[in-house]
Symmetry: none
Subunit: 230 residues, 4 copies
DNA sequence: AATGAATGAGGATTCATTCAT
DNA sequence: TATGAATGAATCCTCATTCAT
């Protein structure tokens, strides 16, 4: 009878969530290591503190709502110190998002694998993986959407993901008849957009009524049918 | 050889588009007429001026970028007057969006018809219709996304659209075996989310590379396959 | 034995002088009267309060040292109110100086009369008059010099005084042989520059050692000789 | 028919002039050489680099506009290094000006000679010399005026020049009847102030309309007449 | 002696909002 | 009802200055 239907927890990202700070530290800390001299290490430490704090603030307050004052307070540093490391809010935000994106790419790449496999099973596994990813990144998404909507720069910067995606699945596309490739590319893009958005609605904004099982089942089915899998 | 491939014009909504003002005026004017006494009529007039001005400003400046000062300047009224009609920015925004939503519902309702028809042709026609709608509403979308992302209230308020949508297609759902209904509902929701988002990317943010024909063709195909049409 | 030698009091303008506030109020108040409606009157009142306060601050702190915060504190109004009346510090300063300039012109005009008279007596009287004027305006001079030195705009705006001066004495120039006029014009300009600067040194910066009598006597003598008077 | 009338080039000192850097380097270098140990030499080198850079910045940005950051950037040294050599902006400015003053004194001393000669010719030559000096120092003058106007300390420090001047011409004063000496001293001071200021207007601020010839001719005439020369 | 990093303090603006008219 | 004027609260940003290295 399958696993119990666990309603998708809409993730308590509603501006106040502080759950992920631990992992976040890991994120940016990872970047700092191996720099060399002591001074550089210290600078990198401060920098990563800012990034971590920024992430917390962006998650809690959204993009527009985040002020540099809040970030520096959260990072427990002087406001002026911020400007030593970043020119403005947008710059830190880019950094914060970049850390996420590293993982993003990783997951997208797996899509290629799943498509190559060409089985419902593989698709299902990938979509499940996607939910995990969405859950991890959910808290920052509102800010990302907000930034993209309010600042054309960000829109240009973050959106290309979908374009690059089509390159990620280049391998898979080669398995498709040459004539069908352009359409297939668009088809995959659409589905990715769909899943992306769907998980955003489901996880971040909590506006999905059904259970997680149903969501996964239907999503898999839609994708497979659209891609003529099985 | 089919119609010529016209690349989707990414719609010059890039903060400055003023194309729709005419229609907009019609929108809010429609609401004000026939209220009753003279005083009320005047008040309603001012109110609709604010709404129209607000729309212009939201389109040009985005949600966060729109200040009450800009709105009242655009409306050529005093800043204080604004507060006689609306408590804050969010309130006007709700009104502005509401005017769009009237139409929104209208279009969604047609989805039910298309689904009932159950033909690729009907689906294709509806999707085409959707692109028109998207084109009309494109300019306000960034603000809407921004507002939703930054203000949880808006998220709750605007998202339910997808829930209500499932009610709109209730009629269609009755034609589906009772056991399949829950999944079918989710399936349609997903596709709507997909189309919605797709047109946002394609029209508003102009990040779609293919032509309009391709977009429509693939979208129709994905939807039909996912819904077992044909 | 002549009048007693009274050493020129270098005027306690050394950032802290508050002596002239009374007169100042008179200055700007004069401007406000006769506006008409009550609202306008109130606005004008605030405006003149800002100007008066600005003058005090400029006198005490110099141009660079004067901040908008200091001005609004002195005026006992909100900082934002300032921006309702002036775009920036430079704008108020212009206004403050303008009030002085009204008088300035008046005094320069008398130079023409003195020159026309062509007697040592008339020159002496005018120079004496000039010292009074200098004394009255001494406190603002440092700021003026500072503003002129630091902001080319001000230099352009305030300096032309010397050019306009040559127009003020046009009448006198007509009494001079046509051939000598250009040189005579320059000659007068030089002397005015000299007196101007001299009184600035003597009164404002207090770096003159001699007594007031001596100063007047020598100045008169230099001027008369240079102009072939007597 | 005299030399051709060359309009006084108002000297492109308008914050951006960089003409004099060569000479300037010479200035401060002269001071640093011959100090002794290697360390001291290095220190002196840095010190002179700061002074040179400061001069450039003061010329370009004015006194208030010059920040320590700008100076150290121009000198290509660390901001903190500045504080090893000077306590603050005022201190470097003093040095910068002092370098000028060495020359200043030199020129003033020649005034004594000219006065002793007591001929129109000698006066004329000295005044011409003065214009050269003014031209050389023009670029720094705005800052000097600004500093004097904003900081009473500077006023006290730079002004005394006029007092010391009277000592420079002590020799000449001895040739004057004892009774007339006090007045003569003041008379010369006045004329020097006049010339000083005149060249400032003419060269630095470019507000003089006439040609250089006229300026020199009239200035010479005024001085000679005022001093009963010829 | 020189530097990189960090800080504290202060100044300019802008905005939403409230009064008295 | 509509307005002009005023306000309080934030925010951004820059600068002079110090400290550990």
């Amino acid at each position: 009878m399958g696993p119990p239907v666990r309603t998708l927890q809409p993730l308590p990202v509603e501006r106040g969530n502080i759950l992920l700070s631990e992992r976040r530290t890991a994120y940016s800390a990872r970047v700092t290591t191996g720099t060399g001299s002591l001074r550089e290490a210290q600078k990198a430490l401060t920098r990563s503190r800012i990034i971590d704090a920024a992430r917390v603030v962006f998650e809690q307050q959204g993009y527009a709502g985040a002020s540099i004052g809040l970030i520096t307070t959260e990072a427990a540093i002087n406001r002026a110190t911020f400007y030593l490391h970043f020119p403005d809010k947008a710059a830190v935000f880019r950094e914060v998002v970049a850390l996420d994106r590293m993982h993003t790419d990783e997951y997208w790449r797996e899509l290629n694998t799943a498509l190559m496999a060409g089985t419902r099973e593989a698709m299902s596994r990938w979509i499940l993986r996607l939910t995990h990813w969405a859950r991890d990144n959910a808290s920052l998404m509102p800010s990302k959407h907000e930034a993209m909507a309010s600042d054309p720069e960000f829109a240009k910067e973050f959106q290309p993901r979908y374009d690059r995606l089509s390159e990620e699945i280049a391998q898979f596309l080669l398995t498709v008849p040459a004539d069908d490739r352009p359409d297939m590319k668009v088809r995959v893009q659409m589905l990715v957009v769909m899943l992306d958005q769907m998980f955003f609605h489901a996880l971040v904004q909590g506006v999905w009524t059904g259970g997680e099982d149903q969501l996964l089942r239907v999503a898999t089915d839609v994708c497979c049918k659209a891609l003529d899998i099985e």
